[in-house]
Subunit: 343 residues, 2 copies
DNA sequence: CTGAAAGCGCTTACAG
DNA sequence: CTGAAAGCGCTTACAG
């Protein structure tokens, strides 16, 4: 790539003149400007944005850490982030979280070394600890956490109303007459714990007994574990009539397990998911679920981060961390139905 | 973030000495080095990698353009890329392709402005044209295209053996006795055209007639169109006994359409997918499909790009563009079975 | 209108 | 062992 210097040589003018001409600043003769512009075009000159970043002390680059892209939810969050970042002329440097946790210090210090103006963090269930967390805390610019948080996190969060969504799903099952409701949860993460809380709240509110034996906690996820746990749950003599699953993918596996056991859904068993992935519409029965708006979560997180960056640049005092949780609404489809009459 | 300059002030030594001390170069007294290191640590100093990039003429950053992250296939490709990039100490700047095509010149010129050392391109079906393609051609560094290509592309490609995979799937249906085989294709993209070719090759090889009326071309994808097209295909008096779908998501919708029409799969209808997404294992019947290895595709693409970058840096002549296509194997599951006896 | 100089944050020969 | 200077690719006051 040609440099300004090279162009100034070619045109026989000084560096400063070329700079002014190319950035459209006044104070350059028309003929000179024309000549410079045409030479620049001919050589395909692009101003080096790394230099801008150094000079201004702002890279206009944001770090995005994400544990996995391979599902629709994460993908849409990231897509929403990109949308908002692009609008405000920020670029995104992406690092994969698993890696960054494993080899955390290097990945994070990379981000600091590149002088990113902030970090959008989509954390995995295994939240950061130890040296990694120290490195994170030493990062000098704003951080916004997305979807999931952890004890003592202290950063801004944009996520979903997990408690409320789970409450609505549970209430729906109760209103259908179900009393024997299992919960297939994922308690390693804050969203899973929130959803369990929504479940418990609804059960208590409606005076329905919670049976420990029907409460499960996924240990490794994603995996085939939800399928196995569901089979186990449904194989005993004393089985639940409804299962509230941590999310759509878990619900999908629960559905498969029910099918393999010859149980009809929703005839024998009702199942709810969480997230409204497109796949739950393409499956029969279509799964009753709770909507989330990952795209909007991503957008809002990026906008909030940009706001924090601006605030910091104007030397405003850092405001207290906030939580922005988007509504999660119940979407009734085909996988839930009236409780089968007890035998 | 403190600068070297600031640290040299604090320590009362020159810039050069600080630089040498922090980068572990010889020629600094032990006491001085200790003092500098401790001050740097205390102030959380991170060398500014943007400066390195300018000085070396290498940013150690690669641009990744991707149309969508919201599916497992794309997500794993990107994950594979990150894995290989990280190993060789490259970072990734990611831009979303839809955006970059729409507003193409800005996004690409961004990449050039950031001086990325190369581009990993995961193109959408709507391949680049016009001003965008011009901008792409003017990009001075290596480019590797992934999964899908376009007429006159001219860049290295890492993808799958789409023709062979589709051939195997079709042959499988033929061997099950099917003769009335529909193809739900997506001919806007090269992968779709390749899969159609594999289909045609197998049909011709086995002397099975291809019926135009059972050949469909999805216009908008992703969408609900596959569902609608399948219903149409299956509703006439003269319906196929097997459908070969462009990919797993299309197959999933075909399965839903069949279920809604009361057709049993594979009793009345056989369906094949392509891609081996995890969801096709969690659905009943599990879908017969063709495996792809997106993670390895991503890894290889990144490695190839890095190789090209090194070659270029050693002033080697640019080698001819190559295609690296990974095996796509047939995976028989539950959605394909013997052709029902004609009535 | 044009140029020379300082500076952003570094590294790397080269003096002392 | 330590420092001063040049240079990477720019921008921005400030002279002329």
């Amino acid at each position: 790539m040609v440099s300004l210097n090279r162009i100034s040589e070619i045109c026989g003018v000084s560096l400063g003149t070329v700079s002014k001409a190319l950035s459209g600043k006044p104070g350059v003769g028309d003929a000179t400007r024309e000549r410079i512009l045409s030479v620049a075009r001919e050589h395909n000159y692009r101003p080096n944005r790394l230099v801008h970043a150094i000079q201004r002390g702002r890279s206009m680059m944001v770090g995005v850490t994400c544990s996995q892209f391979d599902d629709e939810f994460a993908g849409n969050i990231v897509a929403g982030m990109f949308e908002a970042l692009y609008q405000d002329h920020y670029d995104a440097m992406v690092i994969q979280w698993e890696r960054s946790v494993q080899d955390g210090v290097r990945a994070l210090s990379n981000l600091a070394g590149r002088r990113v103006d902030g970090i959008l963090m989509f954390p995995p269930a295994a939240y950061p600890e130890g040296a990694y967390l120290d490195e994170l805390r030493s990062f000098p610019n704003p951080i916004v956490v997305v979807d999931q948080t952890w004890p003592g996190c202290g950063y801004d969060l944009v996520g979903s109303q997990d408690v409320e969504g789970a409450f609505a799903a549970t209430e729906h099952l109760i209103e259908l007459g179900h009393r024997r409701i299992a919960h297939l949860g994922f308690l390693h993460g804050s969203t899973g714990r929130d959803r369990l809380k929504g479940f418990q709240d609804a059960m208590i509110r409606h005076g329905v007994a919670i049976h420990e034996k029907w409460l499960r906690d996924l240990q490794s996820y994603p995996s085939e574990e939800p399928y196995a746990l569901t089979r186990e749950l449904l194989s005993g003599p004393d089985r639940p009539t409804a299962i509230m699953a941590f999310n759509d993918e878990v619900a999908l596996q629960a559905l498969a397990a029910a099918a393999d056991l010859g149980l009809s859904v929703p005839g024998d068993l009702s199942i709810t998911g969480f997230g409204d992935l497109s796949v739950v519409r393409h499956v029969r029965p279509q799964i009753t679920t709770v909507t989330q708006d990952p795209r909007e979560i991503g957008r809002r997180a990026a906008k909030l981060l940009i706001k924090r960056i601006e605030e910091k640049h104007e030397n405003q005092a850092a405001p207290a961390a906030m939580q922005d949780r988007l509504p999660a609404r119940l979407l009734v489809r085909q996988s839930t139905g009236p409780c089968p009459t007890a035998t």
